[in-house]
Symmetry: C3
Subunit: 206 residues, 3 copies
């Protein structure tokens, strides 16, 4: 996978995560700038926590403001177009989200390895990049974060990150390793969406 | 605007934001140190996120502990004095808050430009400095953050930041640019408080 | 106190804080990876905020992944063993938590002083290291953070940190200062648990 394609997928992921923030803001009846804030934390929150933890400051969206512009344009378009989310087929958003998630995990692992992290830390950074934004979004909207409860979401990130770091340690190229991550996250998420898969939950009865 | 005056306004903003944290802690019946924690995150939370994102570490309140002392004294005085908030005229706190907000936005923009940020990032840092603390305060108190929903709060920050960065790019001095930000945030917030202005909200009906 | 013993106590604190995350995740019926996320933020959240604020990046668990392994093993064991928390005597967890807390506060103060902080900042870093993780855990679980309300929790951290920094400034060795912090936090917390001590709360009636 070449760098320009990777960058494009990253921006696509940013846009689709922003859309999920806009939709939640709409349900909470926020004003336009509340919408932008919620879209932004969803789209760049995970990568921001990753960069802060690695010490990669200033964080990525300060170095390259393209991410911010993508979010602003996405907010504008979504608010203009999506007045009736019912008209969108139910699977469109989850599938787009799966594509964005797959890209984010792979990018998190990649970036982490640039900073000489171990494989374990690389997987964790992939999970943070993929899940962090959604967790902050849900906290701001006063919900127990969806990704902690449902449909093998964090699980898909962990497995994808494990594939990518394993592939690298077996001598595959960075592009091949990245691709193995994207494909495994996508397959797991799409299967989970299609058949409503989830792991058994851990429940304590008081 | 000269540096000592700017610093004074900054400390005034810190104190008034701390008061808003104390009042919320009082409604939640927290113990004295819970009160200090809530006051602190409100007063220095936004600036902390700004400094972390810019890579300006250690963060400002570690470099200059005056901010912490202002918060501690404010907490003590507020807990001693404000047992009956009803006696305070309703407009006192919002007006003080508007003054603090105006100072915080201008300071966020200024500090961001010192770190060579673009105009867009400077505006974002102004918004984060002004709104970040209040958002963390509301999350800890389990409320959907007020600033995302009401009365052109984030909007005032964005417009103030835009004035300041525009003024700088048109060749005005840093003091004049700072003043243009403070005045525009103040005017917008005071007008919003006086006439209960708000932007139309973006609502999605499921 | 020698370094290996300190490190052991730190890892013990990490494990016991992870257990408290697992138990909350179990009450919220999270899936296994949600459990790991909640255990992790509880165990390393406070230290992460401390390291970020000090500019000590990459954060400690990236530099030494032992902390992560301790959390993973703790999660596995807890999920296998603790199906029936009722069988555990009620005081076991709070007492373990008090030991972990005492270690975390002392370590936060120590680490802060390595970065040339003042005594005030060192105390604050002790409080953040001890209380930060529990606050994030409660926010993710949608509760008003317990430590802001109950049984002299933050208070114990402040007093412990004050003992440690005072001891250092009176010329005691680092080990003695650390020990004075651990003992004071332990005594206060155990007394608070035994006799249900709490500070008078600050309440505002609207």
């Amino acid at each position: 996978m070449e760098a320009p394609l990777l960058y494009t997928v990253d921006l696509f992921g940013t846009a689709i995560f922003a859309v999920s923030g806009v939709l939640l803001a709409g349900r909470l009846k926020m004003d336009p700038f509340g919408v932008i804030v919620l879209a932004s934390v969803t789209a760049i929150g995970g990568g921001t926590i990753r960069d802060l933890s690695l010490g990669a400051t200033p964080v990525f969206w300060i170095k390259d403001t393209t991410y911010i512009w993508v979010i602003l344009v996405t907010c504008l378009l979504t608010m203009l177009v999506v007045r009736r989310p019912k008209r969108i087929a139910w699977w469109v958003l989850p599938v787009c989200d799966a594509i964005g998630l797959a890209a984010f995990v792979g990018i998190g692992v990649e970036k982490s390895l640039i900073y000489q992290s171990s494989g374990l830390i690389a997987i964790i950074m992939g999970v943070i990049t993929g899940c962090g934004g959604g967790i902050i979004r849900d906290v701001l909207a006063r919900e127990v974060p969806m990704v902690l409860r449902s449909e093998v979401y964090a699980t898909a990130c962990i497995i994808g990150g494990a594939f990518q770091t394993s592939a690298l340690s077996f001598g595959f190229s960075r592009s091949e390793a990245f691709l193995s991550c994207v494909i495994s996250v996508l397959v797991i998420r799409l299967a989970a969406i299609r058949w409503h898969l989830s792991l058994p939950t851990f429940a304590i009865h008081k």
